[in-house]
């Protein structure tokens, strides 16, 4: 987890974990979400995900949902987390705009 504090740039893993939690989801579900949304390009190991979840919880971008049953722990994104996602979307759009201005639309 090496999110750039100055520019606000998130790592791809951070970004995907955040958007996978707009609906309550557990660890295994997050891994499946990422694999499905990237058509298998990005596969996240459980160890790396565990680190990411803890780091995001420490920042209060996500929080655990206590369902009381003590079974699989589910997480959900917080309002702070949603703000981070919104500013990341703006940053990425800006990045694409600058790049296409120079490189052109055709890739």
């Amino acid at each position: 987890m090496r999110d750039n504090a100055k520019s606000g740039a998130l790592t791809e893993v951070t970004f995907f974990v955040l958007i996978s939690l707009y609906e309550p989801n557990h660890g295994y579900g997050i891994m499946q979400f990422i694999e499905a949304k990237t058509q298998g390009r990005l596969i996240l190991g459980a160890g790396s995900l565990y680190g990411a979840i803890n780091a995001l919880q420490d920042r209060n971008w996500i929080m655990p949902l206590d369902d009381g049953t003590g079974r699989k722990k589910e997480y959900i994104i917080t309002d702070t987390g949603k703000e981070v996602v919104n500013s990341e979307i703006r940053r990425l759009q800006e990045l694409v705009r600058v790049a296409t201005d120079i490189v052109g639309e055709k890739i």
Binding site: R2, L44, G45, A46, G47, K72
Partner: protein
């Protein structure tokens, strides 16, 4: 049921590849003891194994991580890297994180490693997939070997300074210290490689 007696101490990669070789022959791990591994015969290549170092984590952190892996659909066994049978043991781990610096038995002692079992889905089994996380994972392993290395090198120096001591004693400790340096260098290389990759990629 097949019983195999093996002791891999801190040689994580070797233990991992041995378990995968057994799985390739159709043996599935059912139980681990200090020196013994129990397998049951099944279909070849049905399972994959990863050995994970957790000695730097506190008992609670280690348990939490184990539970997380189990919830992710894996089967998890504790495994010792030490070989010590005493109960009521208390040990200082300079490479630990927070409460992970203190290891007790019963507690996190003799639970230095996790053996993680996954049903083979044809994809490589990696618990750590991002460069930054790989670098972070290897650091405590390097530090653990560094801790082990310092003692024989210190003893070697002490025997070397003592004129009355036999030179062989200094040499013996030196050789042992240098052997422990091999994993330190190997893990340091990995850390450097992945740290550099993390700077560019992520």
């Amino acid at each position: 049921m097949k019983k195999c007696y093996r002791y891999f101490c801190g040689l994580i990669d070797i233990q991992e590849s041995w378990l995968n070789k057994m799985a390739h022959k159709g043996y599935r791990l059912v139980k681990t003891g200090k020196l013994v591994y129990e397998f049951e015969k099944g279909i070849p290549d049905e399972y994959q194994y990863a050995v994970e170092f957790v000695a730097h984590k506190s008992y609670q952190r280690g348990e939490d991580y184990k539970r997380f892996l189990e919830e992710s659909g894996y089967n998890v066994f504790y495994k010792n890297a030490n070989l010590n049978y005493s109960i009521g043991k208390l040990k200082w781990r300079p490479y630990g994180e927070g409460m992970g610096q203190i290891s007790t038995n019963p507690g996190s002692y003799n639970k230095e490693l996790l053996i993680v079992e996954k049903k083979n889905d044809g994809k490589p089994f990696e618990l750590h997939t991002t460069s930054a996380d790989k670098a972070d994972y290897y650091k405590p392993i390097r530090n653990a070997w560094l801790t082990i290395m310092i003692l024989p090198l210190g003893l070697s120096l002490w025997r070397f300074m003592d004129i009355k001591a036999h030179p062989y004693e200094a040499v013996a400790f030196l050789i042992f210290g240098l052997l422990c340096m091999i994993p330190v260098i190997r893990y340091q290389k990995r850390i450097s490689k992945f740290s550099l990759q993390a700077k560019i990629e992520e």
